[in-house]
Symmetry: C2
Subunit: 124 residues, 2 copies
Protein backbone atom coordinates (compact mmCIF):
# COMPACT_ATOMS: atom_id res chain seq x y z
CA UNK A 1 0.00 0.00 0.00
CA UNK A 2 1.40 3.41 -0.95
CA UNK A 3 1.36 6.48 1.26
CA UNK A 4 -1.63 8.78 0.88
CA UNK A 5 -1.11 11.67 -1.50
CA UNK A 6 -1.21 15.16 -0.04
CA UNK A 7 -3.40 17.79 -1.67
CA UNK A 8 -3.11 21.35 -0.38
CA UNK A 9 -6.51 22.91 -0.92
CA UNK A 10 -6.76 26.66 -1.46
CA UNK A 11 -9.92 28.65 -2.01
CA UNK A 12 -9.12 29.90 -5.51
CA UNK A 13 -9.86 33.20 -7.23
CA UNK A 14 -10.04 34.66 -10.69
CA UNK A 15 -7.25 37.02 -9.54
CA UNK A 16 -3.92 35.53 -10.55
CA UNK A 17 -2.10 37.32 -7.72
CA UNK A 18 -4.25 35.36 -5.23
CA UNK A 19 -3.20 32.06 -6.76
CA UNK A 20 0.45 33.11 -6.96
CA UNK A 21 0.49 33.74 -3.21
CA UNK A 22 -0.91 30.26 -2.58
CA UNK A 23 1.59 28.70 -4.95
CA UNK A 24 4.38 30.34 -2.95
CA UNK A 25 2.78 29.14 0.29
CA UNK A 26 2.60 25.60 -1.07
CA UNK A 27 6.12 25.57 -2.49
CA UNK A 28 8.06 24.33 0.58
CA UNK A 29 5.57 21.47 0.98
CA UNK A 30 5.63 20.53 -2.70
CA UNK A 31 9.43 20.39 -2.54
CA UNK A 32 9.45 18.30 0.65
CA UNK A 33 6.64 15.81 0.01
CA UNK A 34 6.62 13.40 -2.94
CA UNK A 35 3.56 13.72 -5.16
CA UNK A 36 2.03 16.56 -3.13
CA UNK A 37 -0.12 18.92 -5.17
CA UNK A 38 -2.03 22.16 -4.79
CA UNK A 39 -5.68 22.29 -5.83
CA UNK A 40 -8.34 24.99 -5.78
CA UNK A 41 -11.86 24.70 -4.43
CA UNK A 42 -13.24 27.01 -7.10
CA UNK A 43 -12.41 29.73 -9.62
CA UNK A 44 -8.93 28.42 -10.47
CA UNK A 45 -7.17 25.36 -11.80
CA UNK A 46 -6.18 22.69 -11.02
CA UNK A 47 -9.40 21.66 -9.29
CA UNK A 48 -9.60 18.82 -6.75
CA UNK A 49 -11.20 16.75 -9.51
CA UNK A 50 -8.24 17.30 -11.84
CA UNK A 51 -5.64 16.46 -9.21
CA UNK A 52 -7.43 13.36 -7.95
CA UNK A 53 -8.04 12.08 -11.49
CA UNK A 54 -4.30 12.44 -12.19
CA UNK A 55 -3.39 10.69 -8.96
CA UNK A 56 -5.75 7.79 -9.62
CA UNK A 57 -4.37 7.47 -13.17
CA UNK A 58 -0.92 7.15 -11.59
CA UNK A 59 -2.09 4.40 -9.24
CA UNK A 60 -2.92 6.35 -6.08
CA UNK A 61 -6.07 5.51 -4.16
CA UNK A 62 -5.70 7.45 -0.90
CA UNK A 63 -5.59 11.20 -0.60
CA UNK A 64 -5.35 13.61 2.32
CA UNK A 65 -6.71 17.08 1.68
CA UNK A 66 -5.08 19.72 3.87
CA UNK A 67 -6.98 23.00 3.65
CA UNK A 68 -4.86 26.14 3.31
CA UNK A 69 -7.47 27.97 5.34
CA UNK A 70 -6.88 29.60 8.72
CA UNK A 71 -10.24 28.51 10.12
CA UNK A 72 -13.21 26.39 9.18
CA UNK A 73 -16.24 28.23 7.89
CA UNK A 74 -19.08 27.11 5.66
CA UNK A 75 -16.73 26.00 2.87
CA UNK A 76 -14.89 23.49 5.05
CA UNK A 77 -17.89 22.43 7.12
CA UNK A 78 -20.30 21.89 4.24
CA UNK A 79 -19.13 22.55 0.66
CA UNK A 80 -15.81 20.68 0.68
CA UNK A 81 -17.14 17.55 2.47
CA UNK A 82 -19.93 17.37 -0.13
CA UNK A 83 -17.40 17.75 -2.96
CA UNK A 84 -15.23 15.02 -1.42
CA UNK A 85 -18.13 12.60 -1.17
CA UNK A 86 -18.79 13.06 -4.86
CA UNK A 87 -15.09 12.80 -5.79
CA UNK A 88 -14.77 9.54 -3.84
CA UNK A 89 -17.72 8.14 -5.76
CA UNK A 90 -16.49 9.38 -9.15
CA UNK A 91 -12.89 8.24 -8.78
CA UNK A 92 -13.24 5.23 -6.46
CA UNK A 93 -10.72 6.88 -4.15
CA UNK A 94 -10.49 7.31 -0.40
CA UNK A 95 -10.19 11.00 0.49
CA UNK A 96 -9.56 12.25 4.01
CA UNK A 97 -10.21 15.89 4.88
CA UNK A 98 -7.68 17.14 7.46
CA UNK A 99 -8.36 20.14 9.70
CA UNK A 100 -7.49 23.57 8.28
CA UNK A 101 -3.85 24.50 8.83
CA UNK A 102 -4.87 27.33 11.18
CA UNK A 103 -6.03 24.81 13.79
CA UNK A 104 -2.43 23.64 14.27
CA UNK A 105 -0.54 25.62 16.97
CA UNK A 106 2.44 25.88 14.59
CA UNK A 107 0.52 28.56 12.71
CA UNK A 108 0.05 30.78 15.77
CA UNK A 109 3.80 30.63 16.38
CA UNK A 110 4.49 31.52 12.74
CA UNK A 111 2.15 34.52 13.04
CA UNK A 112 4.05 35.70 16.11
CA UNK A 113 7.31 35.42 14.12
CA UNK A 114 5.82 37.44 11.25
CA UNK A 115 4.67 40.14 13.67
CA UNK A 116 8.12 40.31 15.26
CA UNK A 117 9.68 40.83 11.81
CA UNK A 118 7.11 43.53 11.07
CA UNK A 119 7.93 45.34 14.33
CA UNK A 120 11.65 45.29 13.53
CA UNK A 121 10.87 47.05 10.25
CA UNK A 122 8.56 49.63 11.82
CA UNK A 123 9.86 53.05 12.83
CA UNK A 124 9.61 53.60 16.60
CA UNK B 1 7.18 58.62 20.58
CA UNK B 2 5.77 55.23 21.50
CA UNK B 3 5.99 52.09 19.34
CA UNK B 4 3.10 51.50 16.97
CA UNK B 5 0.39 49.23 18.32
CA UNK B 6 -0.16 45.93 16.58
CA UNK B 7 -3.67 44.95 15.52
CA UNK B 8 -4.15 41.43 14.14
CA UNK B 9 -7.04 41.69 11.71
CA UNK B 10 -9.23 38.63 11.11
CA UNK B 11 -12.19 38.43 8.78
CA UNK B 12 -14.83 37.66 11.41
CA UNK B 13 -17.91 35.49 11.33
CA UNK B 14 -21.16 35.02 13.19
CA UNK B 15 -19.89 31.48 13.95
CA UNK B 16 -18.19 31.52 17.35
CA UNK B 17 -15.95 28.58 16.40
CA UNK B 18 -14.44 30.71 13.62
CA UNK B 19 -13.52 33.45 16.07
CA UNK B 20 -12.18 30.97 18.61
CA UNK B 21 -9.74 29.62 16.03
CA UNK B 22 -8.50 33.14 15.31
CA UNK B 23 -8.18 33.90 19.02
CA UNK B 24 -5.98 30.82 19.37
CA UNK B 25 -3.95 31.88 16.32
CA UNK B 26 -3.49 35.35 17.83
CA UNK B 27 -2.61 34.12 21.31
CA UNK B 28 1.20 33.70 20.93
CA UNK B 29 1.41 37.22 19.46
CA UNK B 30 -0.80 38.77 22.14
CA UNK B 31 1.41 37.19 24.81
CA UNK B 32 4.65 38.33 23.14
CA UNK B 33 3.79 41.88 22.06
CA UNK B 34 2.70 44.60 24.50
CA UNK B 35 -0.67 46.14 23.69
CA UNK B 36 -1.27 43.91 20.66
CA UNK B 37 -4.94 43.23 19.96
CA UNK B 38 -7.10 41.16 17.66
CA UNK B 39 -9.87 42.89 15.69
CA UNK B 40 -12.44 41.68 13.17
CA UNK B 41 -13.22 43.22 9.81
CA UNK B 42 -16.90 42.35 10.08
CA UNK B 43 -19.49 40.14 11.80
CA UNK B 44 -17.64 39.91 15.14
CA UNK B 45 -16.34 42.09 17.94
CA UNK B 46 -14.03 43.82 18.68
CA UNK B 47 -14.06 45.79 15.43
CA UNK B 48 -11.08 47.83 14.19
CA UNK B 49 -13.01 50.92 15.28
CA UNK B 50 -13.36 49.61 18.86
CA UNK B 51 -9.71 48.64 19.16
CA UNK B 52 -8.38 51.88 17.69
CA UNK B 53 -10.69 54.01 19.85
CA UNK B 54 -9.37 52.19 22.94
CA UNK B 55 -5.77 52.64 21.83
CA UNK B 56 -6.23 56.34 21.16
CA UNK B 57 -7.91 56.77 24.57
CA UNK B 58 -4.78 55.21 26.09
CA UNK B 59 -2.50 57.64 24.26
CA UNK B 60 -1.54 55.63 21.17
CA UNK B 61 -1.47 57.36 17.80
CA UNK B 62 0.23 54.83 15.51
CA UNK B 63 -1.14 51.44 14.59
CA UNK B 64 0.01 48.62 12.34
CA UNK B 65 -2.71 46.32 11.07
CA UNK B 66 -1.43 42.83 10.25
CA UNK B 67 -4.05 40.86 8.34
CA UNK B 68 -4.54 37.25 9.44
CA UNK B 69 -5.28 36.38 5.83
CA UNK B 70 -3.24 34.00 3.69
CA UNK B 71 -3.55 36.15 0.57
CA UNK B 72 -4.88 39.51 -0.52
CA UNK B 73 -8.26 39.50 -2.22
CA UNK B 74 -10.88 42.19 -2.57
CA UNK B 75 -11.14 42.72 1.20
CA UNK B 76 -7.48 43.64 1.61
CA UNK B 77 -7.13 45.45 -1.71
CA UNK B 78 -10.26 47.59 -1.42
CA UNK B 79 -12.49 47.24 1.64
CA UNK B 80 -9.89 47.41 4.41
CA UNK B 81 -7.92 50.35 2.93
CA UNK B 82 -11.20 52.29 2.68
CA UNK B 83 -12.05 51.42 6.30
CA UNK B 84 -8.58 52.52 7.40
CA UNK B 85 -8.88 55.88 5.65
CA UNK B 86 -12.11 56.53 7.52
CA UNK B 87 -10.68 55.31 10.85
CA UNK B 88 -7.66 57.61 10.48
CA UNK B 89 -9.99 60.54 9.91
CA UNK B 90 -12.33 59.62 12.78
CA UNK B 91 -9.64 58.94 15.37
CA UNK B 92 -6.83 61.25 14.22
CA UNK B 93 -4.54 58.22 14.15
CA UNK B 94 -1.90 56.94 11.75
CA UNK B 95 -2.73 53.41 10.60
CA UNK B 96 -0.40 51.30 8.47
CA UNK B 97 -1.74 48.24 6.66
CA UNK B 98 0.91 45.50 6.53
CA UNK B 99 0.85 42.69 3.93
CA UNK B 100 -1.22 39.63 4.79
CA UNK B 101 0.71 37.09 6.86
CA UNK B 102 0.60 34.60 3.98
CA UNK B 103 2.97 36.75 1.94
CA UNK B 104 5.75 36.08 4.46
CA UNK B 105 7.84 32.96 3.64
CA UNK B 106 7.60 31.91 7.30
CA UNK B 107 4.03 30.81 6.60
CA UNK B 108 5.01 28.45 3.79
CA UNK B 109 7.50 26.80 6.11
CA UNK B 110 4.86 26.46 8.84
CA UNK B 111 2.52 24.83 6.33
CA UNK B 112 5.21 22.32 5.43
CA UNK B 113 5.64 21.54 9.15
CA UNK B 114 1.89 21.02 9.55
CA UNK B 115 1.84 18.66 6.56
CA UNK B 116 4.74 16.67 7.96
CA UNK B 117 2.86 16.24 11.25
CA UNK B 118 -0.24 15.17 9.34
CA UNK B 119 1.76 12.57 7.39
CA UNK B 120 3.17 11.13 10.62
CA UNK B 121 -0.38 10.62 11.85
CA UNK B 122 -1.63 9.07 8.61
CA UNK B 123 -1.71 5.30 8.18
CA UNK B 124 0.65 4.16 5.42
Amino acid sequence: MTSPRIILLAHGSSDKRWCETFEQLADPTLKAVDNARIAYMELAEPSMDTVIAEGVAEGASDFIIIPLFLAAGRHLRKDVPAMIKELEHTHGASIHLAPPIGENPVLGQAIRDVVMMQLEKAPS
